[in-house]
Amino acid sequence: MAKIRLDNLRKSYGGTEVLHGVSGEIEDGELVVIVGPSGCGKSTLLRMIAGLETVTAGEIHIGERMVNGLEPARRDIAMVFQNYALYPHMTVRQNMAYGLKIRGLPKEEINRRVEEAADILELREYLERKPRQLSGGQRQRVAMGRAIVRDPQVFLFDEPLSNLDAKLRVQMRLEIRKLQKRLGVTSIYVTHDQVEAMTLGDRLMVLNGGYVEQFGTPIEVYERPQTVFVAGFIGSPAMNFLPAELSDGHVVLGNGARVPGGAGEGEVTLGLRPEHLVADEDGPVRVRVALMEQLGANTLIHGVLEGTDQEMVVSLHGIRDIAEGEVMGFSAPQDALHLFDRRSGRRIN
């Protein structure tokens, strides 16, 4: 088990820098999810920690060691790949035993570890099969098993669930979470799926365009997103953003409506989560309904802020029946207002 420390990590391909100084500490036994849209550099970051990509600048520490110059094999890590990367010509048993064999462990020890992992992952009856005879979920488990048997200091997951169907993904997500808690191995998990990120991570590192936008617990990231990007990326349906102005204790919307809250003066972007708006006939946020989506548990109302063409989504509990074209009023509790500087996109409240 080990801490991981990233110190101002940079990565360039040719002249283009794709990671612009990533720093952060990952505690012993913690599961940190690196999340961001495709192309944000999250896989590159993971591969740098694994030793599959060179480090342009900065330092990676695993435990007490600076591992920048170490081969992947010497870093005491295990990695689960998006396409599982099982050895297709080996049985499940051989796949899991490969790393142990290379380390020269005695045969009984190898068998014991492989069978233990197979029990944990319910793979016992598949040990003599080849990967192509397994389903996607089973292959995924073999890949996990291969990581477990090595008993490494760190697990690295590179979008391990993205090749599975939706139902299996939910199930495997829970299994990974349980397994990681049980083994207590420091883990880094890369995904572009914000639900996966929210449910799995002890903490999230939200990456965008090679910068860390925010590094915090899922609840922190959800409740106090530090930038417009994080606010829009985490949460579903996505947060509403409205251009607004601050004026003596109120947020003034584009149509002149005044929402109580905020301090100071100046141009801001107001962020409102669809699920935090409260139906209120006299509420200041008035939305002209264009379309409704009934999801059963809640109802999504798509519309525009009245008097403007700024699109908004509101999520209300339960089944509602609202006519298109109707104007609905909503109020926004003060603690549900997210105010961002219009220029920098940084949080100001």
């Binding site: 094999a73 790949f81 396409n83 490969y98 290379i102 291969r146 090595r150």
Partner: protein
């Protein structure tokens, strides 16, 4: 199953396959049947009369020590060519697969030998190893090794094996490189994380995964060594010294066009024909099935 009614009778399909069928008939079936016919004939020395003798030509062949010798020699030659050229190209492909900078240049240069006509390839090697003026023969002599493939059968065999292998390296290289690049990068990376060094990765992961290609190339190379090396042998040794490099295909030519034993020569080519058919069947039957993982 589609019913015939869907396709009203038409001459068009026949017209479309006609060119291929005509080519096959004229250039393959006809000469092959001629060879088959000829293999059962015996001609007198002046070509004035022929006699139909059934399988006597074949019987004579299998009683002939020289023919049996050529058979063994061919087996050795083709295995040696397959082994030398495949292992050489495997190593080259293994390195080319790892190269990042200038990969296209290496690849292009490595493909060139394939474009050289067999006779020219043979001529190049003859010049390099010519006992009196060859640069490599000269170099070997400086090292105290006397090279004269015009006198020594073993050296002559080594020389034609080298020349024939060299020409085939390009072809094997292409297939090996393609096979290696078809292996998902992540599998290699997983092995690296599992602690396997480059050599170990090669033998435990890459080599097993490209085994279908190895089998395919083995058949292709054997066929090549059996049939397409005539030009090289003709240019380098003419089958000598003392038949040391006379392989089956060269013997067909030698007995037929030099020795003028047309019947015997035709019988030999029929045997070669059966061999190549057998190898092709082997390849088609087993390539997809036997070697899989």
């Amino acid at each position: 199953m589609l019913k015939r009614v869907h396709f009203p009778p038409s001459v068009l399909p026949y017209l479309l396959v006609a060119p291929q069928i005509i080519i096959t008939l004229v250039f393959f079936i006809w000469p092959a049947s001629q060879a088959l016919w000829q293999s059962m004939l015996v001609e007198d020395a002046f070509g004035l009369s022929t006699e139909f003798v059934w399988f006597e030509n074949f019987q004579a062949l299998f009683r002939d020590d020289q023919y049996i010798g050529a058979f063994k020699r061919t087996a050795f030659f083709s295995l040696a060519v397959a082994f030398v050229s495949m292992s050489f190209s495997l190593v080259l492909a293994g390195f080319a697969d790892r190269v990042v900078r200038g990969a296209i240049v290496y690849r292009t240069l490595l493909i060139w030998p394939y474009a050289i006509a067999p006779v020219l390839a043979g001529a190049l090697w003859v010049f390099m190893f010519n006992p009196t003026l060859g640069i490599l023969a000269y170099g070997l002599e400086m090292l105290g090794y006397e090279w004269n493939h015009q006198l020594r059968g073993g050296q002559a065999m080594a020389l034609v094996i080298m020349a024939a292998s060299w020409k085939q390296v390009a072809y094997n290289f292409l297939f090996y490189l393609a096979a290696m690049q078809a292996i998902p990068r992540s599998v290699i990376e997983a092995a690296a994380i599992d602690g396997a060094g480059p050599i170990r990765r090669f033998w435990t992961i890459i080599f097993p995964l490209i085994s279908p290609t190895t089998f395919f190339l083995l058949v292709i190379n054997a066929v090549y060594a059996f049939f397409d090396t005539f030009g090289i042998i003709h240019a380098v040794t003419q089958g000598g010294p003392a038949n040391a490099t006379t392989i089956l295909v060269y013997k067909v030519y030698n007995d037929g066009f030099v020795g003028l034993d047309l019947g015997g020569s035709a019988a030999q080519s029929v045997i070669l024909m059966i061999l190549v058919i057998a190898m092709t069947v082997l390849q088609f039957r087993y390539i997809e099935r036997k070697v899989e993982y």
